[in-house]
Amino acid sequence: MGHVEILDAKTKDKLCFLDKVEPNATIGEIKSMFHKSHPQWYPARQSIRLDPKGKSLKDEDVLQHLPVGTTATFYFRDLGAQISWVTVFLTEYAGPLLIYLMFYFRVPFIYAPKYDFTTSKHWVVHLACMCHSFHYVKRLLETLFVHRFSHGTMPLRNIFKNCTYYWGFAAWMAYYINHPLYTPPIYGEQQIRLALIVFLFCQIGNFSIHIALRNLRPPGSKTRKIPYPTKNPFTWIFLLVSCPNYTYELGSWLGFTLMTQCLPVAAFTLVGFIQMTVWAKGKHRSYLKEFRDYPTLRSPILPFIL
């Protein structure tokens, strides 16, 4: 039986003393006990560390396997108000879906009054609306039924930042695509057909990767394994790339840019690509650090290039 004392990482004040803690207790259980004495700090916003400036301990870490004596001293940092990943994803994806439709149906106060509730005469505009809506419905459904999140929550301020990004760009793109003065692609039907093929191919690819990643992880677990190609040809890209979900996402938006021939869409594609590259490089690095036998042929996001 051990004891646990929790100190504030900044002020070093004694916040909590837990006596008679089982040696096989996990950090997660200790967080629940701490929450009882400090109800305003629910477990998701607790960062418990061995060192005031060190890395957060994981919920799964077991007390007796940590380098502590009979009385363990932990340092606590408040991560701030937290919000669940699922909530953030649903909010940030529902926005673009609805906002785009508002522009598509030309609700009042966006364009000149004579255009209120009219529809575009260009069939590519209808196609674009279907593709954009399909994309975000797919994302919403994946959030609810496919993805297995390793972290339950993120800081509350992220939802404002993320929603501004997604909703802002959606409004900016939708404004031009559904504008009465919209100009369809220069190469007409050929361009639109190619764009649609690229878009659909990448949507299926992206979905295949999400399914493959989900199947790597049993329900309720947070295990990490190296993803490998499966029987599905869309996953064979794992031979060359660590994060093919981002590769396919880039492809989808390139397709949409080609389909709409709209500069704001190109801008959104570029910004998204930059962000996804940063994430892919990070993921690739952690794969390399965690797995000694990680395949050397793989690049983070673009085969052989990036």
Partner: protein
């Protein structure tokens, strides 16, 4: 056995990695001294040019034309400061420096140079004078700091003159942008209208109005940051005088 040993190993590692931290090398310091001396000289040239033109004409009006070229040259040259931060020889934030330099360059080229009609406005003189005095002090401050011989007068000036110069500069900038608005609207300067092949539009007139509005949240933050810096840097002198 494990806990204390791991603790000491950790601190030992941190010590050695702290020793590896690098700052600007001697070559970088030499370059920066030259850069800051050149910039001080450049803005002095502008200051002298303004005084001479005023004495020659006998009026404040239209002094911009007498220093137009050196102003453009030395203000644009400040873009190098972004590079200095990016490369690491100056310990400032790339984003903050970039923002500050770009706003000056924007006013110099995208407003004053581009809209000829505002060049004879008195508001231009207002911000040019504010910038000139500020930059002469700022660049000599950096020069002396790099040489480790900073006269208290320069430090005092850097952290005191801004109290008047900053609002003066902001007033000049805002009035100049405001004066440019009707001409930008009339000529459609830097604006793109629909329809076009890239399905994009940009209204420079609206953009300028948004820029003016952005001063409202930004200016107080920057101003009060400098006030806080002033208390921190110059504050201790007041404490010594209190002891007496």
């Amino acid at each position: 056995m494990s806990a204390p040993a791991m603790g000491t190993r950790k601190t030992a590692h941190t010590d050695s990695s702290n020793k590896k931290k690098k700052g600007p090398g001697t070559l970088a310091i030499a370059y920066l001294v030259i850069y800051n001396v050149v910039m001080t000289a450049g803005w002095l040239v502008i200051a002298v040019g303004l005084v001479r033109a005023y004495l020659a004409r006998g009026s404040y009006h239209g002094l911009y034309y007498s220093i137009e070229k050196p102003l453009k040259f030395f203000q644009t040259g400040a873009l190098l400061e972004i590079l200095h931060c990016a490369v690491g020889i100056v310990p400032s934030s790339v984003v903050l420096t970039g923002f500050q330099v770009m706003s000056r360059v924007f006013l110099t080229w995208a407003v004053t140079h581009s809209v000829r009609e505002v060049q004879s406005e008195d508001s231009v003189l207002l911000f040019v004078v504010a910038w000139t005095v500020t930059e002469i002090i700022r660049y000599s401050f950096y020069t002396f700091s790099l040489l480790n011989h900073l006269p208290y007068l320069i430090k005092w000036a850097r952290y005191t003159f801004f109290v008047v110069l900053y609002p003066m500069g902001v007033a000049g900038e805002l009035l100049t942008i405001y004066a440019a608005l009707p001409y930008v609207q009339k000529t459609g300067l830097y604006s793109i209208t629909l329809p076009n092949n890239y399905n994009f539009s940009f209204d420079y007139h609206t953009f300028l109005i948004l820029v003016m509005i952005s001063y409202i949240p930004l200016f107080p933050q920057l101003y009060f940051h400098m006030i806080r810096q002033r208390k921190k840097v110059l504050g201790h002198v007041e404490e010594y005088s209190k002891v007496e």
